[in-house]
């Protein structure tokens, strides 16, 4: 039985945690939240210099050619530090989409720039409220252009290239759309997590290349999202762990009725419940990353399980962390709201809890899935 990260991978975790503690303390998050910035550009450059954006991109395309085990470790630390970065959009989604569906030329053109962090990528899926239905997208690809309105698109305000999901007569297509062109109109939109940027993208005959020059099977897109779900689960776990740590530290230091509030069972049991959910989320995230890294047929079930566990752990820890802090937890001054915002944002980004619970049961009963 070897269900654990290697020594080298543990070292990477220590290194990443120390790096983010130094360069991404919570006042970094606060600075982005308090401004109109959609990211911390200097932090992005540091992270890119560390090679984190290159982690799973093959060496042939300027990457490090490491595995998803390493990326999972970094994802957890991104969540732990609530990093104000487009890491998930560029690394888990755009890079993976180009790597999976791109032609040789497309991969050679874009992956080295995404690996170096010189370019930021994102993926534009959503168009309207409700669950995403891949077969009902209104965005159309005609010839070498794409038109439609995508919203919200994470990190589009800082992105150089967007993978736009669209339909043509040939079916579902993932289109590569450079941001710097007249056919792309980007309008920033306010979301509940202002430490990350979101936009509405209006595409008017925007120049587009079809990834791989062919329509894609919706199930292949779902496979990609399953992989991303595992990474999001690790990031959610990081958020959950930070929220638990903050709640624990406060419960030790805050006194009421003559004693630390952490000595009351009402608080103890709340924190124990957080620990339980975090532990379940971690163990399920282990299985998720194993299934992803080993390309197991279990991936759809493992990813859905990790995703649901991650959503539940992060939401519960972030909500109950504020509750543990009492009134101070409700202030702008305390950091509790960073975790609350990020936990909810991450739970919405690639399909929310009910969708993934449904996919989980489909995985258990081997039913086909369509909805994302």
């Amino acid at each position: 039985m070897n269900f654990e990260f290697s020594e080298e991978q543990h070292l990477l975790r220590d290194q990443a945690r120390a790096f983010l503690a130094e360069f991404c303390p919570t006042n970094t998050v606060r600075a982005v939240l308090d401004s109109d910035n959609e990211w911390d550009h200097a932090l992005w450059q540091r992270v890119a210099e560390m090679g984190w954006t290159a982690t799973v991109i093959p060496e042939a395309y300027g990457g490090l050619g490491l595995s998803h085990y390493e990326l999972a470790i970094l994802a957890e630390e991104m969540g732990r530090s609530v990093a104000p970065l487009p890491f998930s959009s560029s690394v888990y989604l755009a890079s993976e989409a180009i790597l999976t569906f791109g032609s040789e030329g497309q991969k050679s053109e874009w992956l080295p720039k995404l690996a170096s962090g010189e370019c930021v990528g994102t993926v534009a899926m959503w168009e309207r409220p409700g669950a995403l239905a891949l077969e009902q997208l209104a965005t159309r690809r005609l010839g070498e252009t794409v038109s439609g309105v995508k919203s919200p698109v994470p990190d589009a305000g800082v992105a150089d290239v967007v993978v736009v999901l669209a339909h043509s007569d040939a079916g579902l297509e993932a289109c590569l759309v450079p941001m710097d062109q007249a056919g792309v109109q980007q309008q920033s939109v306010m979301t509940l997590d202002g430490s990350r940027g979101h936009s509405t993208l209006t595409l008017n005959n925007a120049q587009a290349e079809i990834l791989g020059h062919n329509a894609i099977d919706p199930s292949a897109w779902e496979r990609l999202i399953d992989g991303a779900a595992v990474m999001f689960a690790w990031e959610q776990l990081g958020v959950a762990e930070s929220a638990l740590t903050q709640a624990r530290d406060y419960a030790l230091q805050r006194f009421a009725f003559g004693r630390a509030i952490g000595s009351y069972q009402a608080i103890k049991h709340k924190l124990a419940a957080m620990y339980v959910k975090n532990t379940l989320a971690r163990s399920n995230a282990y299985y998720g990353v194993w299934a992803l890294a080993e390309n197991s047929a279990d991936l759809p079930l493992a990813a859905a399980t990790a995703r649901v566990a991650g959503i539940q752990a992060a939401a519960f820890a972030a909500e109950e962390n504020i509750q543990t802090h009492g009134g101070m937890g409700f202030t702008w001054e305390f950091d509790c709201h960073f975790y609350y915002r990020r936990a909810k944002l991450l739970s919405l980004v690639i399909g929310s809890e009910a969708v993934w619970q449904d996919r989980l049961v489909s995985g258990l009963t081997h039913q086909p899935t369509v909805a994302l």
């Binding site: 039985m1 070897n2 000595s263 069972q265 924190l271 124990a272 532990t279 379940l280 080993e294």
Partner: protein, 401 residues
């Protein structure tokens, strides 16, 4: 990551598989015995070939196996339906206590027959006045020459009615603060004055007992640890109340939930297609898979020769309420038929109803949900204990009710 044995573990597993395939009783004569007789016969067979209490030293009947080898053995033995529960408390909790605290003579006398199953032990800790608050126990032992005279009552004693020996914590000095006035003995369960009364549980079964002590005479040689050191000795016993690594609770799993949800209808469709049903099943699977893979993480630590982290402490706290909630929900899916527990008529021969009726006990035994949450909060998260009204004052002055 992979889920494979190391080469040494694989060889050990192969050895275990082979021995089991040749030695697991299959004859009708075996299955005609009472469960206790079956258990004793099977235990003796294992003992004779070196497969009992594997982690114990050879002189006590074991083979000095590593923790991961013990787990591999348990996994392989669990593939057969064999009676092993009768020895869990004695071998799992009391054996290690004897090893730590008994004299060399007593270890040589008592450990081998405990390993072979020829002698069964029980644990006399809980009392009507001391469950979660174990150290509040009131059973007294008073010195009388070289002996002690025990008076009082224990409760929830599993297996007292078939045990040969028991370990008992008693109060030897009620004028001291409560943890300091305790002492620990082993006793002969057939000694004069020991009276055992079964407790009928709400399930209708009787697995537990009340045990009364009326002037029971015990030699001072049967004391483990110093007079007044009983709490420390008791902690040795309780620390060995091991989490069942890699194991589950009963047969209430998501596979069963899916089978039932596929079988019955809700709103004219298979229940498995109902969104509310799917949500519940997904949440239970998150718990079930989470516990399973938590177990794998612990096994990995054992396999590397390390101690598992605190993550295993969540097992009972998640598993027992899940069993209750699942059983309740599956009965709901069955509608009024869900009430039928008659084995001949009930869906799945009544295991759902039995699980529901047994679940309250699972949530209490070996530490209630609330105590388990306290343990996680205090030992894992480092939160302080509740202030205690009984701290540092003579036991006789502690408020009771």
């Amino acid at each position: 990551m992979d889920f494979n044995d190391t080469p040494a573990e694989a060889r050990f597993r192969e050895e275990a598989v082979t021995w089991l395939s040749h030695n697991v009783p299959s004859d009708d004569a075996f299955w005609a015995l009472t469960p206790l007789e079956q258990a004793k016969l099977w235990q003796k067979r294992k003992y004779d070939d070196g497969w009992a209490c594997l982690g114990w030293a050879p002189e006590f009947g074991g083979r000095g196996a590593s923790p991961i080898e013990e787990v591999i053995w348990r996994q392989e033995e669990a593939r057969y339906e064999l009676p092993t529960n009768f020895f869990l408390i004695g071998q799992g909790m009391i054996g290690p206590t004897l090893m730590a605290w008994a004299t060399a003579d007593d270890k040589a006398r008592y450990l081998p027959p405990l390993a072979s199953g020829e002698e069964v032990w029980c644990q006399l800790f809980s009392e009507p006045a001391g469950g979660s608050d174990l150290a509040a126990l009131r059973t007294r032992a008073e010195p009388d020459g070289d002996d002690w005279i025990i008076n009082g009552q224990k409760i929830w004693t599993s297996g007292a009615h078939y045990a040969d020996y028991g370990v008992i914590v008693v109060r030897t000095d009620p004028t001291l603060p409560k943890h300091k006035g305790l002492s620990y003995f082993y006793i002969d369960m057939r000694a004069p004055g020991v009276e055992i009364k079964p407790i009928k549980q709400l399930t209708g079964d009787a697995d537990f007992n009340e045990v009364y002590f009326n002037d029971v005479r015990v030699s001072d040689r049967q004391r483990l640890g110093e007079v007044g050191q009983g709490w420390q000795v008791a902690l040795t016993t309780l620390m060995n109340e091991r989490a069942a690594i890699g194991g589950g609770i009963g047969k209430m799993d998501v596979d069963l939930a899916i089978a039932i949800a596929q079988d019955v209808e809700l709103d004219g469709q298979p229940a498995i297609d109902n969104a509310a049903v799917r949500t519940r099943i997904a949440d239970w699977y998150v718990q079930e898979a989470g516990l399973k893979y938590t177990g794998y993480r612990s096994l990995t630590a054992l396999s590397r020769g390390a101690l598992p982290g605190p993550e295993n402490s969540i097992g009972k706290l998640v598993g027992a309420p899940k069993m209750q909630a699942m059983a309740s929900f599956l009965m709901d899916l069955l509608g009024a038929s869900g009430a039928i527990s008659d084995e001949a008529m009930a869906v799945k021969a009544g295991i759902i109803q039995r699980a529901y009726m047994g679940a309250p006990g699972m949530r209490i035994a070996g530490g209630t949900d609330e105590i388990m949450a306290n343990i996680i909060a205090e030992r894992v998260l480092g939160l302080p204990q509740e202030p205690r009204l009984d701290k540092g004052i003579p036991f006789t002055d502690v408020p009771t009710g």
